[in-house]
């Protein structure tokens, strides 16, 4: 490495070339003040606070934007430098309101800190008139006070260059300049996504949360933890005063690099919400009464004994949870397998990425995201199919936009013109359920035009010839008809994808939630392997996992066919290993998946269901059927934070502690095992799920020593090869990405380097097969479902935040203008929509984002989209076809 020698504050140093003076100084713990500097951004040198003196240069230089050079003699705190900084502070103070005593930022304001450090006079040295502005309150979560703004530009730059939304701008000029949204802050016309990343970087009190809790920062404690929402696994600090979470601050570094979304930043009010369950509840004569933990455990135990004696272990089933920790999921499946004696344990990964687990395991040998979140920015081609990334995984969405800003090409295929489509090189507005047709045609083009990677195919894969048989007749013209897009766009997309050296595919429910979901996933694997785009850095296949710990819940064996680490229950060696570890006999038969558990309950074959942190009354297809099934149970245990729609049907409710009250780990979508840490004690008499499960195991007669989550990790690491090298000490700082093969293994940044988990990558030709229920005369419209930015899953947590509810208050349906005209319905009308399974009411949103004859509904709301959705299953993995069903509009209500 090239190094240079220079002097800084009379200290001689030798440092690598290419650093700025500020970076060098910070490495040496020399404190140079800055307002506008952000290491993630190109330096503006706007605030001038970081000026330094360099011998032989006749003016002061901004250290943030000046490269250190050989022989420089730098003074960071000379008299002249200090005077210059004082001048800036004096000038700023002259037009700044003298309101520190009542300012929300008191105690965490850089202007205040530096004014003290540099001993500024409280009476302004300069007599400029103070600027007069109204406070901008249009955003629901924070306000802008332009009088306190020092125009450093951090908020604008973060919004423009990192979040890539550009909702903030400098308005007016010169003395009148202020920062605001377009058009007097009118949120209706703004593209602001309320991520709050501007607020997080404001050095003064100009941008502050609209908090109802009054707190001074010195009264609070901060606890670093992992976000409980989507699978990105953002790191942040819970700011707590008097056992109440009052704010969330993003953490720098992996994986979110200081960014958050609206849910992570602002939707934390559920933690201390008045509706939290604080004591066990037992239903008697149709009414819940408060109970002690022992009463609850005793009741569950007596029901367990009666039902087990009468109907056997396979009349029990459990729904584990993608929202709780790895350790809790591990213990939950251990409870079912080792204590109850059944493999009937599943969780809602069944409804999101079951097809990924099945499809990628077959083709590559491992069903997880092949690359890391940090690699997104280095993709040269990004192909997003069936993922509305900026809403479902907002931080990854921002990284994608950062990549395109650096020149990466973007292909988007989705039934809706999602936000990412606006900046795409090609947008393919395909009909729901036609992914395979599109992918086959793209492969047809790549094959015909000789754009595939022959060497990779011959050395790393098998059965390419079988694929060729299928794709060679699947022309773009044929696909264009099926998908409802232009053949030339398919050709263009194929050429762009094949041209990428670091081409990555990102997908989610648009690929997986189909009766052909496994085949859709296999098709993705086909095109990626054909172009040699798996098994290298920044190129791969990336299923974006939806919930905070859905990856971990799968890893921990919250699935009916596998023990932790995807070890098959029917493998004798594996069975023997777990029998030894848990000191019990285990069942070698694959258990039931969620749809079959519910059908089993409906048919009264499943008698006892234990649901931990899931809400099938909202999340699963055909709510009417779900309700009937749950009502047919002999006994239902629900463990949750709140009285959910599912909890209402329970016989016993066990109040669990939230992520802010417990220890453990979540595994994010990039396979990174990260810590969560308790910031407050459990609310009321609630208990962490891990403790509840272990106490219950003992109550049911299994001698389970009550372990801490760290001890549980040690136990499971011994018998889970991909987690073998994980322990709490190693993951405390950064987390580790599995597979972590031993205590010295550094974890795995991207999968399948050199060879696939299964050895050779397997091409599996896939025919296009139509969705099970397509429009007809009676039900002429296709309904597709999805997520929105502001809500998470069944809104049991996000729905506890007033501001979020004000933005997305109720179920809605997106309809194309011409479809709306045909039915004579208008924007914001309330209409009834029905399918063969049920009906629901939704507010009409007329938008040309969606194609004609297709309608969209978010799945978040109770008695909403899932009243209508189809229970048709993918035979391989049992994922329901949540993305396509036929509906009719029954007019206004």
């Amino acid at each position: 490495m090239d190094t240079i020698k220079l002097k800084i504050n009379n200290q001689e140093i030798e440092v690598p070339k290419g650093k700025t003076i500020l970076e060098l100084a910070r490495n040496l713990d020399i404190d140079i003040p800055t307002f506008c500097y952000d290491e993630r951004l190109k330096s503006d040198g706007a605030c001038r606070m970081c000026v330094v003196e360099v011998e032989g240069v006749d003016r002061l230089l901004t250290s943030c934007s000046t490269q250190a050079a050989e022989g420089m003699n730098i003074q960071t705190h000379s008299e002249e430098v200090i005077q210059a900084r004082k001048d800036i502070l004096d000038l700023t103070w002259a037009s700044h309101p003298n309101e520190c005593v009542v300012c929300d930022a008191n105690g965490e304001c850089k202007l205040q800190d530096y004014s003290y450090e540099y001993q500024i006079s409280p009476d302004p040295v300069y007599t400029g008139h103070k600027r007069e502005f109204d406070i901008i309150t249009s955003n629901k979560f924070f306000y802008i006070d332009p009088e306190k703004c020092i125009l450093c530009g951090n908020c604008v730059n973060v919004c423009t260059d990192l979040q890539k939304v550009e909702a903030l701008s400098f308005i007016e000029r010169g003395y009148k300049t202020y920062v605001s949204f377009a058009f007097e802050g009118d949120m209706e016309t703004s593209n602001c996504v309320s991520c709050g990343n501007c607020v997080s970087v404001c050095p003064t009190g100009a941008m502050v949360e609209k908090s109802k809790d009054l707190f001074r920062i010195w009264e609070t404690t901060k606890t670093r933890t992992t976000c409980p929402y989507c699978g990105v696994g953002c790191q942040f600090d819970l700011v707590v005063k008097n056992n109440k979470v009052v704010r969330i601050d993003p953490a720098p570094g992996i994986p979110n690099e200081g960014l958050l979304c609206v849910k992570g930043k602002f939707a934390f009010k559920f933690i201390n919400h008045k509706d939290r369950l604080t004591t066990p509840l037992i239903k008697e004569n149709g009414e819940f009464r408060e109970a002690t933990w022992n009463e609850a455990y005793d009741l569950i135990t007596s029901k367990f004994l009666t039902i087990k004696n009468e109907y056997g272990a396979n009349s029990f089933a459990g729904l584990s949870s993608a929202k709780v920790t790895n350790e809790e999921n591990y213990m939950f499946q251990k409870l079912f397998r080792a204590v109850i004696g059944t493999n009937n344990v599943d969780h809602c990964a069944r409804l999101c990425h079951a097809s990924t687990v099945a499809g990628l395991a077959t083709t590559l040998g491992s069903g997880a995201m092949t690359n890391s979140i940090g690699e997104v920015k280095y993709n040269d081609v990004i192909f997003v199919i069936g993922s509305n990334t900026t809403e479902t995984h907002p931080v990854i969405g921002s990284f994608m936009k950062q990549a395109t800003a650096k020149g990466a090409k973007l292909i988007v295929a989705d039934p809706r013109k999602i936000e990412l489509a606006n900046g795409a090189d090609v947008f393919l507005g395909i009909k729901p359920g036609t992914n395979v047709a599109l992918l086959n045609a793209m492969m047809n083009v790549i094959y015909k035009e000789n754009l595939y990677d022959k060497e990779y195919i011959s050395t790393r894969t098998e059965k390419f010839n079988e694929l060729v048989e299928i794709i060679k007749t699947f022309t773009p013209e044929k696909a264009a008809d099926i998908c409802g897009v232009k053949a030339e766009d398919i050709i263009k997309a194929a050429r762009i994808y094949a041209s990428g050296d670091k081409a990555a595919i990102y997908y989610a429910m648009g690929i997986t939630q189909h009766s052909q979901g496994t085949n859709h996933v296999k098709s993705i694997a086909n095109i990626a392997m054909m172009c040699g785009n798996v098994g290298k850095e920044s190129a791969g296949i990336n299923p974006l996992r939806g919930q905070n710990n859905v990856q971990g819940a799968c890893d921990m064996g919250g699935l009916p066919n596998v023990y932790p680490g995807y070890q098959k229950v029917f493998n004798k060696e594996v069975q023997a290993k777990f029998e030894k570890a848990w000191a019990v006999k285990l069942d070698d038969k694959v258990g039931l998946s969620i749809p079959h558990i519910l059908n089993g309950a409906y048919d009264k074959l499943i008698k006892f269901l234990y649901i931990m942190g899931e809400n099938p009354m909202v999340s699963d297809p055909d709510t009417t059927h779900v309700k009937a099934s749950l009502n047919n149970l002999d006994f239902l245990v629900v463990q949750d934070l709140f009285m959910t729609e599912t909890a209402e049907l329970a016989d016993v409710i066990l109040p669990a502690s939230s992520y802010a009250e417990k220890d453990g780990t979540f595994t994010n979508t990039e396979r990174r095992i990260q810590k969560i840490r308790p910031a407050i004690p459990p609310i009321g008499n609630s208990k962490p799920d891990l403790l509840i499960i272990q106490e219950l195991m003992n109550s049911l007669g299994y001698p389970q020593k009550i372990l801490t989550s760290s001890e549980v990790m040690d136990e499971l690491a011994l018998i889970t090869p991909i987690y073998q090298g994980v322990n709490y000490e190693r993951i405390d700082n950064l987390g580790l990405q599995w597979p972590v093969k031993d205590k010295n293994h550094p974890g795995t940044k991207f999968l399948h380097e050199g060879s696939f988990s299964r050895g050779l990558g397997l091409f599996t030709p896939v025919e296009y097969i139509k969705s099970k229920e397509l429009p007809d005369e009676d039900y002429p419209l296709i309904l597709t479902t999805g997520r929105v930015l502001y809500h998470f899953h069944t809104i049991s947590m996000t729905g506890k935040n007033e501001e979020i509810n004000e933005i997305i208050p109720r179920n809605y349906i997106e309809i194309h203008p011409s479809t709306a005209a045909k039915y004579k319905i208008k924007h914001m009308d309330s209409i009834k929509v029905s399918s063969r399974r049920g009906e629901t009411i939704a507010e009409v949103h007329v938008t040309s984002k969606i194609s004609e004859n297709v309608v969209f509904m978010p799945f978040h709301f109770a008695d909403g989209a899932n009243m209508l959705t189809n229970t048709a299953l993918d035979e391989t993995c049992n994922i329901p076809e949540l993305k396509v069903c036929a509906v009719q509009i029954n007019g206004l209500v």
């Binding site: 007016e172 000029r173 605001s180 377009a182």
Partner: protein, 162 residues
């Protein structure tokens, strides 16, 4: 927000203006100038249209529009009065002219009269200092102006109207 430019005009603006400039290196300024010329301002609807068509955020466009004094958000009057406030004109009493016109028309510097006839636009040196104080009305320049003479000029425009 009241709609100022209807759908038909927006479509025309897209095909005749935005499409004309969209492949230029930085088309925004040219398009904004065309809007200012055509509508006497850059209305919100036009900014939204440009935003959709060029994939530039409305905040950024609004930032540009509010930065340059040649753009306005609201429509300007039929005639633009520019009283030069450059150094030479200032010495020759430009401020008195501004005060006089403000009083006469009942508007402040930068505002538009209720009848939409005049906008008193902020104006810096127009480059003809020998004739200070200088007043521009639209593209016509008037030199050596005093309070009384300028009122006469305004009257002549008012009379044209009727």
């Amino acid at each position: 927000m009241k709609e100022y430019v209807n759908i038909k005009l927006r479509k025309e603006f897209k095909s005749s203006i935005i499409d004309k400039y969209r492949d230029n290196k930085s088309p925004l300024m040219q398009i904004l100038q065309e809007s200012q010329k055509q509508f006497g301002c850059v209305p919100v609807e036009i900014q939204q249209l440009i935003s959709e068509e060029l994939n530039i955020s409305t905040a950024k466009i609004h930032g540009v529009v509010s930065f340059y004094s040649m753009f306005s958000l609201k429509p300007a009057g039929k005639h633009i009065i520019g009283i030069c406030t450059g150094t030479a004109c200032h010495v020759k009493g430009a401020q008195r002219l501004v005060d006089r016109v403000e009083k006469e028309l009942g508007i402040k510097y930068g505002e538009t009269t209720k009848d939409g006839l005049f906008t008193l636009a902020p104006t810096r040196c127009v480059g003809d200092c020998s004739k200070a104080a200088v007043v521009m009305v639209d593209d016509t320049m008037y030199g050596n102006e005093t309070g009384e003479s300028i009122i006469k000029i305004l009257k002549s425009y008012q009379n044209k109207k009727s």
